[in-house]
């Protein structure tokens, strides 16, 4: 099977750049002056207490949420109200949700081929080949003709990852991809994500899996109350957290 791999040329600009981004939910200031740059191939793990705005931040990157102030550039394109830009960016950015959000009325294969066929205008046969390729990559090619409801949670999340990959995104966003899984299924999903990281995918991952963060992250972003409080490589962040808030968070999450 010939499936072209993404061209690994170095972009002249960062893949994601957030400059002084602010967002409010009504009166509630949920994102405060977010500045974040992610270069091609970089893996960023975002952590922080519940309600600190992690999901909101990454959902701004593909316009599931709208920011009200500041600028967001994805692969050099600025996110504005321009529908064309939003569509262009969504084609480049894959997203994996905590609750999988597979389409329950479609088979696994149909879940994987729908967007490539209709959004990327890939011929059906080619889309199916790509789908099978990625199902093999996530180690469940034999489930192609089942419905999502017939799969385990871990399998569903791997299908969701494959579904995003079928769009050949340049960037993958993960919002707590393992939080809804039983412990014995977490590893199978993390393994797939590690393989993806090793392939050079640009990734932003919201997770509390600190083992995963140590293994793959280039930098760890710690958020609290809508702010990025700290941003550092994993060794530094785990060994020498600079702020009290990060220290408190680490002590809670690592169970010290």
């Amino acid at each position: 099977m010939v499936v072209p791999q993404p061209v690994k040329s170095v972009s002249p600009h960062p893949m994601i750049e957030m400059r002084h981004v602010h967002k409010w939910f009504g009166e509630f200031h949920v994102l405060r002056d977010i500045n974040l740059t992610v270069n091609q191939g970089q893996k960023v793990v975002v952590c922080g207490p519940s309600g600190s705005g992690k999901s909101t931040m990454i959902r701004c990157i593909n316009r599931l949420e709208e920011h009200q102030d500041g600028q967001i550039f994805v692969d050099g394109i600025e996110l504005t109200n321009d529908v064309k830009n939003i569509e262009a960016i969504r084609r480049e950015v894959g997203m994996v949700f905590q609750q999988f959000n597979l389409f329950p009325h479609l088979t696994v294969l149909e879940n994987l081929t729908l967007a490539p066929i209709w959004v990327r205008k890939v011929p059906k046969k080619e889309a199916e080949e790509t789908a099978m390729y990625f199902l093999e990559r996530v180690h469940i090619p034999e489930q192609a003709h089942k419905y999502p409801g017939q799969l385990s949670g871990g399998q569903q999340q791997r299908v969701a990852i494959a579904r995003s990959l079928c769009m050949r995104p340049k960037i993958m966003l993960f919002d707590e991809p393992t939080s809804a899984l039983d412990p014995e299924m977490i590893k199978e999903v993390l393994d797939v994500m590690i393989e993806l990281a090793q392939d050079g995918m640009t990734m932003i991952v919201v997770t509390h899996e600190m083992g995963f963060a140590r293994t793959v992250a280039d930098s760890i972003v710690f958020m609290d109350r809508g702010e990025i409080v700290e941003s550092a490589p994993p060794q530094e962040f785990f060994a020498h957290p600079k702020t009290d808030r990060a220290r408190l968070f680490l002590s809670q999450i690592l169970g010290h």
Partner: protein, 379 residues
């Protein structure tokens, strides 16, 4: 252990098996059930017996009225035989005599084969539409073809067929035309209304809400009156729109408003995550709606949808108030003649059977469809 098991007889498997000690008539499940539920006290036993008495009595009365004592034929229009047994036996001779009128009303007698063929075409269209392997573009073509054939047959004026004006149409074809096109056009319209009501664009939202609330808030009868009496007043001199067409439009408008709310119920039940996943994949609004949201939403609301369809099918009979001879009106009119006056019950029972067959058909089909479409939810 094995001791206790051998004493235990499962009630669900209990049955009168020969040679098994301790089993008796009272162990047969229905008997057990009856004893436990119908004869468990003196009062209940008395009530049960009383009920059985009435049920049996009325069943016998019904059979002797409807079958045994019924008059099936009378010579000419001489209905004395029927009048003699009023209340004792049914006068099915009426149906015998008026069958053609009830089915086709005032359509020219020698041309009755045309509306009869129209009925057959409708039935064929239903059967084809019910089969899932025709659920593609071909179905639209088939329906357009059917529509043309129905128009040609009913109106005539081409292919050597005699022209028959709409004012002479009547009976079952009218009921089928009004309800079939009522549903077939109102349903897609209702989907657009329901989507519009949830739109981000305020103008569209306000328009849809206003439409739905206005139309839903008035009785169908008044809409029909408006369509038949008021609407022509707004038309320029000399322009006329078919009365049947006006009634059809009124029915479509009314049904669309009702169905829109049913569809909206389904839309609301779809989790936010489905919209977000579709958005994140870059699907456009219409791609998301057609491929992801509607298939799930409509499947959820099959029961209330069909409920509304059935209501609509029967509501078409209200066109009798603006003088259109649908099936029910034809039946009502068939007993206007002095000789047959007073045999309305027979006529109404006869048409009730038609309504029942169509409505029950819809209901049964929708149940099968629901099972079919939810197969994948089971493991």
């Amino acid at each position: 252990m094995s001791d206790t098991q051998s004493h235990y007889t499962s009630p669900t498997f209990a049955g009168p098996k020969a040679g098994q000690p301790g089993r008796s008539f009272a162990d047969i499940p229905p008997v057990k059930w009856a004893r436990a539920n119908l004869f468990n006290s003196w009062l209940n036993t008395a009530l049960t017996l009383l009920l059985i008495y009435f049920i049996v009595k009325y069943a016998i009365d019904l059979v002797s009225w409807g079958l045994i004592n019924a008059v099936w034929e009378v010579p000419g229009n001489d209905t004395r035989a029927c009048r003699d047994i009023r209340g004792i036996g049914a006068c099915w001779a009426l149906i015998n005599e008026k069958f053609r009128f009830i089915m086709f009303a005032t359509y020219p007698y020698e041309e009755h084969w045309r509306p009869a063929l129209v009925i057959v075409i409708f039935l064929a269209l239903y059967v084809v539409s019910a089969m899932r392997r025709f659920w593609n573009r071909k179905l639209i073509a088939i329906w357009l073809l059917g529509l043309v054939a129905i128009g040609v047959l009913m109106w005539g004026g081409v292919f050597g067929l005699r022209y028959v004006g709409q004012e002479r149409w009547g009976g079952l074809p009218i009921t089928l035309i009004l309800s079939t096109f009522g549903i077939a056009i109102a349903f897609p319209l209702s989907i657009l209304l329901a989507l519009g009501r949830r739109s981000d664009m305020p103008a569209i939202r306000v328009m849809c809400v206003t439409y739905i609330e206005l139309i839903r808030g008035v009785p169908l009868v008044s809409l029909l009156f408006m369509a038949s009496v008021m609407f022509p007043l707004f038309l320029p001199e000399g322009v006329t729109v078919d009365k049947l067409l006006r009634a059809q439009v009124a029915i479509i408008m009314f049904a669309a408003a009702y169905l829109a709310e049913v569809v909206r119920g389904g839309l609301q039940a779809i989790p936010k995550g489905q919209y977000e996943a579709a958005d994140a994949l870059g699907l456009s609004y219409w791609q998301k709606t057609v491929f992801i949201i509607l298939p799930q939403a409509l499947r959820l609301v099959i029961p209330p949808l069909v409920n509304t369809f059935i209501g609509l099918f029967k509501d078409t009979s209200l066109v009798l108030i603006i003088g259109i001879f649908d099936l029910l009106n034809a039946a009502k009119t068939s007993v206007n003649e002095p000789a047959w006056r007073g045999f309305g019950v027979e006529a109404y029972i006869f048409v009730a059977i038609f309504y029942f067959v169509f409505c029950f058909g819809m209901s049964k089909y929708s149940q099968d469809l629901e099972v079919e479409l939810s197969r994948h939810r089971k493991r």
